[in-house]
């Protein structure tokens, strides 16, 4: 009994999540079938939240760290799971106000399935498991993107997402198989060892590029970003929240893991006068493209959601700079940046969602005068926008600062400073469009007939909490940094 | 008594009085009285100074000296000698006189009187300061109230007059400021005494060239000349000396009566004072080198202004040109005194005579010119705005006292023996004839022309048939007589006993002569 079911014990959080998801589905189809949409949302949503909370509780209390061939339970992965579950929880709470569909049981079930996929994604050191988890994350997301059946953009977005995602997945699979052929193993650590000892052939680089392409897709890094604006705009807003925050965090984590643990010997160099092939120059190219495409496209947007989408692409670019840091600073800076970014963008999309529910359209001009219609909400949006712009004392500033410092210090003689200069310049431009949003909110003229509206407490509380977190982590980032350093350094497997 | 900072207190009285007047400006009568009281207090202070002044000693008296911004060579340094005392006394006398003349000013009297008091503070400060920093502050303090006085209470063409006055004087001041900045950069000093010591044997030229020369100036003479011109310009505009005089006729003519009295009585003396106190000690060499052109300018000033006065039809403009003419005599005396001569008591006596004459003339002219403007103001008042030469006639019959006193003033201005103007002019000519004979000779032309137009005034205004419209011409009221009494008395007193003034001015003249 013990040995045959022992494999289930480390996976209890995932199991809890899946169980609750299925429960939510069942209850919704059976008992709550005839109830009204808000009630169904409440019931299913509560189940989902309970599941998340239970899983988080279990993770927080379970300190038995193990590592097997397929799965790794280390302080780092557990911490990441906590963060991802927290993000999912907020999305679930935000979905309480969902009115875009009647099939809420399916909605929450799929959400939790995707969350399970997230958690699996960050737990594994095995490429195949990673791929499976990736699919487990993506497929529910494709469906969820299409959930708003009354909206044509939603369907279009889902289709694009699906097509792009499939191609990316195929590319990743191809790369993985190449790697297997080259090294004979699917485990990241062993791959690195093999690559270090073998002579490097062109096929290695091919495998590198193909594998990374898939993950670049996941984090919406240019040139694999084309799905992002449409999906962020078309998908139901809570799902956009989820994709922008949790999916991104997991994506970066896995990317970091693969590069650091798997492709370490192939790093190459992107230094100013010493270009050598490897993942460094590749990531440098991705970063520059993302920053430029993201920022310039965002300058001309009229829709808040698309603006946030392009800003997400740009921020992905900034985050990629962390990979150029030295071994001590790369991971803390990357994770700090991505986590605080996820909190911020989650808050921003949450505000968008609330505003949408009040009947305001998504055009920038329709946001005019929001500051007077919903002061607290606007204040939170103020915090989120400025954090995205990188204004101190908010977390976005420190995240960027740490990443830039890490990148500069990563190579001797300031060899990577050129990339940091590009990033800082791009960041400066970005203030323009964030200020455009804030300008509409605070300096815009109220249109005739616009009335104040009061967002529900269920929506307002998480948003306010996120805003406080953003401010708090900006003023006292040491807390999160300390935690990250601790969990990274106490990893029992090489990462 | 002598331990009190008398000079500072003296300057503070009109300053604080002006502030008090401003604060009371919503009640015109009160503010007038406060202002007048302040001016009388200042007069009492000046009289106290006179009483305490020691005519025997040659150096600075009532000296106050405190370190101020030591790192920049700025000290709070006050002191007066005979020249300063005369100027302070003159200012203290003219201000109450001017206030009484403007007693019934129509618009915002509070502000008007306050500005006059600030002007007086500026005058006192200028005449007592011995360090460029606060000397310049007071110099400017004299300028700004005058501008407002002309601009806001003047005649029909006051805007242009005020603007011209302001810009010219300020431009001159800025030139002076830049020159002194150069001097400071060269010597690190702002103190007039110390600078005079440095300049005694050409030291200033050397210092200027050492620090500032080289790249831009080929010879130290040219550099020193440029700096000299800067300072010269400031005073030449103020005095005025031709050709920097163009602001004067309009300003004096358009200003309200009281302001004109102040302008001619006290402010014009600031320019001459500057020549004596600053330009002469600091730049003896340059003045000597440029003596001939300077004398020419002085002569031209004298003759031209007299001729211009003769050609005028407006009484006030005549008075303005006449004022310029008398300042010309002062400058003649100064420029003559810089003549390079062999050392010897005889020459020193001549030079001292010239300088004494200048100081006496400054004092006397202050009194007579302001009285003249007062009379013109009275004429204007009684005639409802007319002041043309040809508008009147036979007033002697209607207002004998008026004409009598006006006649005395005119003769005092002309320089009739027995009245105050004589001794000053006599001494100037006595001194400058041997020193700069040709200039003095040509200048007597000025005397002649002056005599002509003054007699013309007497004839046209006082004699002849009375015009019908002036038959109701009122003679001087009691108030006006009381106003004029002190001034007229002084004109007689100083004419009969000039020793009163000479005892004070002579030591000062000798001290100035020691500089070169």
């Amino acid at each position: 009994m013990n040995s045959s079911l022992a494999w289930m014990i480390p996976l209890i959080p995932e199991e809890l999540i899946i169980l609750c998801g299925l429960l939510a589905l069942v209850i919704d189809i059976t008992i709550a079938r005839r109830k009204t949409v808000p009630v169904r949302a409440a019931v299913a949503g509560t189940m989902a939240c309970l599941g998340c909370v239970a899983a988080m509780g279990w993770i927080a209390c379970w300190h038995d760290y193990t590592a097997s061939e397929m799965l790794a339970l280390t302080p780092l992965t557990q911490f990441m799971k906590l963060v991802l579950l927290a993000l999912t929880l907020v999305v679930a709470v935000l979905s309480f106000g969902a009115r875009f569909s009647r099939h809420l049981g399916e909605y929450f079930a799929l959400l939790l399935l995707a969350a399970a996929g997230l958690m699996l994604l960050v737990s594994s050191e095995n490429l195949l498991v990673i791929f499976i988890a990736l699919e487990m994350l993506s497929v529910p997301l494709y469906v969820l993107t299409a959930f708003n059946k009354s909206s044509l953009p939603s369907a279009e977005a889902a289709l694009k997402y699906f097509l792009f995602g499939s191609v990316a997945a195929a590319s990743t699979l191809f790369g993985i198989s190449l790697l297997y052929g080259l090294t004979g193993t699917l485990e990241l650590g062993s791959i690195a060892d093999k690559l270090a000892t073998q002579p490097v052939e062109a096929v290695c680089y091919l495998a590198l590029v193909m594998t990374l392409a898939g993950f670049a897709f996941k984090v919406a890094s240019a040139p694999f970003h084309f799905w992002a604006p449409d999906v962020y705009e078309g998908a139901p807003t809570p799902i956009a929240c989820f994709i922008a925050s949790a999916s991104k965090v997991a994506g970066f984590f896995v990317l970091a893991r693969i590069i650091v643990a798997g492709f370490a010997p192939l790093h190459g160099s992107a230094a100013w006068e010493g270009f050598r092939a490897g993942w460094m120059p590749l990531l440098a190219v991705f970063a520059i493209l993302s920053m430029i495409v993201g920022n310039i496209a965002a300058l001309v947007q009229n829709s808040v959601k698309r603006l946030l989408a392009y800003s997400a692409i740009a921020h992905g670019g900034y985050a990629l700079l962390a990979f150029f840091g030295n071994s001590r600073q790369m991971l803390p800076s990357l994770f700090f940046y991505v986590i605080t970014y996820a909190l911020t963008v989650l808050g921003a999309f949450a505000v968008v969602s609330v505003v949408e529910n009040s009947g305001t359209r998504d055009r920038l001009s329709d946001w005019a005068g929001l500051g007077r219609r919903a002061p607290l909400l606007s204040a939170c949006m103020f915090v989120f926008m400025l954090s995205l712009a990188g204004i101190p004392p908010l977390s976005g500033f420190f995240g960027k600062f740490y990443v830039f410092t890490a990148a500069t210090a990563g190579a001797p003689h300031l060899a990577m400073l050129w990339l940091v200069i590009v990033a800082i310049a791009a960041g400066t431009i970005s203030l323009y469009y964030y200020l455009q949003v804030l300008k509409q909110i605070y300096a815009g003229e109220l249109s005739v007939g616009a009335t104040p509206f009061r967002p529900s407490l269920a929506a307002l509380v998480p948003i306010a909490l996120l805003a406080c977190l953003v401010i708090g982590l900006g003023c006292a980032p040491g807390w999160l940094l300390g935690k990250l350093s601790f969990v990274i350094n106490s990893n029992i497997i090489k990462l | 008594m002598s331990t009190l900072p008398l000079l500072t207190l003296l300057t503070l009285v009109p300053l604080l009085g002006g502030v008090a007047t401003l604060l009371a400006s919503s009640r015109p009568n009160l503010s007038r009285r406060i202002a007048f009281a302040a001016s009388l207090l200042a007069l009492a202070g000046a009289a106290l100074l006179w009483a305490e002044f020691d005519t025997g000693s040659a150096g600075w008296q009532f000296v106050e000296r405190y370190a101020w911004v030591a790192s920049l060579g700025i000290d709070y340094h006050l002191g007066i000698d005979g020249l300063g005392l005369l100027m302070v006394l003159l200012s203290a006398l003219i201000v109450p006189f001017a206030m009484l003349a403007s007693w019934n000013i129509g618009r915002i009297p509070g502000l008007y009187f306050a500005l006059i008091l600030f002007l007086e503070a500026g005058l006192f400060g200028t005449f007592t300061a011995l360090n460029f920093f606060h000397w310049f502050i007071y110099w400017e303090l004299g300028l700004i109230p005058a501008f407002f006085l002309i601009k806001m209470w003047g005649g029909p063409r006051r805007s242009q007059a005020a603007v011209q006055f302001f810009i010219y004087t300020l431009a001159g001041s800025v030139a002076m400021l830049l020159a002194f900045l150069a001097i400071y950069a060269a010597t690190g000093l702002f103190d007039f005494d110390q600078l005079a010591d440095v300049a005694r044997h050409g030291g200033l030229d050397n210092a200027l060239f050492a620090t500032l020369g080289g790249s831009l100036f080929k010879s130290k003479e040219s550099l020193a000349a440029v700096v000299f011109l800067g300072v010269f310009l400031g005073f030449a505009v103020k005095a005025p000396l031709m050709p920097f005089h163009t602001w004067l006729p309009s300003a004096y003519a358009e200003a309200p009566t009281g302001t004109s009295m102040l302008l001619t009585g006290a402010m014009s003396k600031m320019g001459v004072y500057g020549f004596l106190r600053i330009l002469l000690p600091l730049f003896p060499g340059q003045m000597r080198a440029m003596q001939t052109p300077l004398l020419c300018l002085a002569v031209v000033t004298i003759v031209f202004s007299a001729a211009a006065a003769l050609a005028q039809r407006d009484l006030k403009r005549m008075a303005a040109y006449s004022s310029m003419n008398h300042i010309g005599y002062c400058l003649l005396g100064i420029f003559a005194a810089v003549q390079l001569t062999a050392p010897g008591v005889a020459w020193t006596t001549e030079k001292a005579a010239a300088l004494n004459g200048v100081m006496l003339q400054m004092f006397s002219h202050g009194l007579t010119a302001s009285a003249l403007f007062y009379f013109v103001g009275l004429i204007e008042q009684r005639s409802g705005g007319l002041r043309g030469l040809d508008d009147f006639g036979g007033l002697r019959k209607a207002a004998p006292v008026f004409c009598g006193l006006l006649g005395i003033t005119l003769f005092a201005s002309l320089g009739l023996p027995g009245l105050s103007g004589f001794v000053g002019e006599f001494l100037i000519f006595k001194g400058s004839l041997p020193l700069a004979g040709w200039a003095a000779a040509v200048s007597t032309l000025g005397l002649l022309i002056t005599a002509i137009f003054m007699l013309a005034i007497l004839q046209r205004v006082f004699s002849g048939p009375v015009q019908s419209r002036w038959t109701g011409w009122k003679d001087l009221t009691t108030g006006e007589r009381l106003t004029l009494a002190p001034v007229i008395t002084l004109m007689f007193l100083l004419g009969i006993c000039p020793q009163i003034l000479i005892s004070v001015s002579n030591p000062a003249a000798l001290a100035i002569l020691k500089h070169f």
């Binding site: 400025l386 204004i391 101190p392 420190f398 600062f401 740490y402 830039f404 410092t405 500069t408 210090a409 300031l414 400073l417 800082i424 310049a425 960041g427 400066t428 203030l431 323009y432 200020l435 804030l438 300008k439 605070y442 300096a443 006292a476 980032p477 040491g478 940094l481 300390g482 350093s485 | 101020w68 911004v69 790192s71 920049l72 502000l111 920093f133 606060h134 310049f136 502050i137 400017e140 303090l141 700004i144 407002f148 601009k151 806001m152 805007s159 603007v163 302001f166 810009i167 300020l170 001041s173 800025v174 400021l177 830049l178 900045l181 400071y184 950069a185 620090t211 500032l212 790249s215 831009l216």
Partner: protein
């Protein structure tokens, strides 16, 4: 005590938001109270500083570890230069509130943003950790944007965005320089005094100095990066332009002095002549352009560029007297520019609703508004730099210092003073005095000068005259500070 200026301002800003929305009176008085409390804290702190550290040393106020992983500390300290500028900020803050007494629309948000800006400015002047300094420097950008975008006038949104982007671009340059310096020095600490001791390689210093100096100097109005200033000043509401010209531009100059010049002395010597040239171009250009403007506020805006040129010239002289003059000019111009903008914005524009000289002239303001005219004339005289006002001693020191190093440039700077006289007289003539007397007395009477305006005018004029007559009050703070060890490398030329 000095650190309390920061806390008080931010607390005041937060308190503003909690006030009821409709109560303008509460907002104003709360803001005035906060600003006054800040000024009192500044004065008390200054007195304490003089007692504790009379020789110009740096006095620590707060020094706690903040982000240990990067060696960042929350380090507030002060030396004479900081104290001088903190005093300036205090005075400017109070007078700004007084001149904004008549804000009607969304008063509490206005004052909240205003106080947040003030808090950020105090923070910059008191920070001795580079990261902290940078944080405060950037905090100041956003309130500026909103103050102009919401409450401004001519082309406010464009001006606000231009200002924000220029400021951010400048600080981006500074950020690059700071990160580079941090990394090159071994990444142990962001402490200003520690990093200043580190011998950066000359080749590095050459470009790092230029980057950081220009980054800061953009905000100081260094020509040709000054173009945000005239537009920004004109569009901003009165209090904001008072702060912009009075205090915010000094942030840039201060940053240039405190950070760029002490960290990279070799780079400083390398670029000294070029920057001095740019400074003098700014002096002459600003004054010349001011001479031909038709909008009164533009005249004052360009005159600010011209005066800041003196500050930058003084900094580049690398003489004790030149730098002393530069810091004193920072103080003096802060007061005088604030006063000029107050007169033009609050006293004139709010009453006449026009800033065009051609429209103002017939109004004959010298008669309609005598108090305003007198204040304007006195402010203008102070701006020209006549003795008796604070600008004289400052410009004197800058010119004397600059003559010993750049004689030819100093002549042009002197021309700048003459031009200053010219444009000021022109503006007086055109704005205050009508050509001809108005035909009838039916010109609208202007609303009388309110008590807050008088108080503000007296405060600013009084300070200008006080420092003009007793510059020692500030020179005893500034001169010893410039002698202290952290400025030694400037005199020596800092070859590592």
């Amino acid at each position: 005590m000095l650190a309390w200026t920061i806390y008080i301002s931010f607390l005041g800003a937060a308190a503003q938001v909690l006030l009821p929305a409709e109560s303008r009176r509460a907002a104003r008085f709360m803001a005035l109270f906060t600003a006054l409390a800040g000024l009192v804290a500044a004065l008390v702190g200054a007195a304490q500083y003089e007692r504790l550290a009379p020789s110009g040393a740096v006095a620590d106020l707060v020094n706690i570890s903040w982000i240990a992983d990067l060696g960042i500390r929350f380090h507030l300290a002060a030396d004479g230069v900081s104290v001088t500028l903190v005093l300036l900020t205090g005075i400017a803050a109070v007078s700004g509130v007084l001149f904004s007494w008549n804000i009607e629309r969304r008063a509490r948000e206005f004052f909240a943003l205003y106080l947040a800006l003030i808090g950020g400015v105090y923070g910059v002047f008191l920070s001795f950790d580079l990261f902290l300094l940078f944080v405060f420097y950037e905090i100041a950008i956003i309130p500026k944007y909103f103050l102009i975008a919401v409450w401004g006038s001519t082309r406010r949104e464009y001006a606000a965005m231009k200002l924000a982007l220029y400021s951010l671009a400048g600080s981006a340059m500074v950020l690059i320089g700071l990160i580079a310096a941090y990394v090159v020095s071994g990444s142990r600490t962001f402490e200003l005094l520690e990093l200043a001791k580190y011998p950066f390689p000359p080749a590095f210093q050459i470009w790092a100095f230029l980057l950081v100096f220009v980054g800061f100097a953009v905000l100081a109005g260094l020509w040709p990066f000054h173009t945000w200033a005239p537009t920004g000043h004109v569009a901003a509401p009165t209090a904001a332009s008072m702060l912009l010209a009075g205090v915010v531009m000094k942030l840039g100059a201060y940053g240039a002095l405190r950070v760029a010049m002490t960290l990279f002395p070799y780079g400083l010597r390398f670029w000294q002549n070029e920057i001095a040239l740019l400074a003098v171009i700014g002096i002459v250009y600003g004054a010349s352009v001011a001479l031909v403007q038709r909008d009164l506020k533009f005249v004052i805006g360009y005159s600010s560029v011209s005066h800041m040129g003196f500050v930058l010239l003084g900094l580049m002289t690398l003489t004790q007297i030149g730098l002393s003059g530069a810091v004193l000019q920072m103080f003096s111009h802060g007061i005088v520019a604030g006063l000029l903008f107050a007169v033009v914005g609050r006293m004139i524009y709010d009453r006449t609703h026009t800033r065009q000289l051609s429209e103002l002239q017939p109004m004959n303001l010298s008669v309609l508004a005598p108090f305003v005219s007198v204040v304007f004339v006195l402010a203008g005289v102070a701006s020209i730099g006549l003795p008796g006002f604070s600008g004289f001693v400052a410009e004197l020191q800058v010119l004397v210092g600059s003559w010993s190093v750049f004689p030819r440039l100093t002549i042009f700077a002197g021309i700048g003073i003459l031009l200053g006289f010219a444009y000021m007289v022109r503006v007086w003539m055109k704005a205050l005095f009508a050509e001809n007397e108005p035909k009838s007395a039916s010109i609208n009477k202007l609303e009388p000068v309110s008590i807050p305006e008088r108080a503000g005018a007296f405060l600013l004029l009084g300070t200008a005259i006080l420092i003009g007559l007793w510059p020692n009050i500030l020179l005893t703070l500034i001169d010893p500070a410039l002698h202290s060890p952290q400025f030694q490398p400037l005199w020596k030329g800092g070859l590592p």
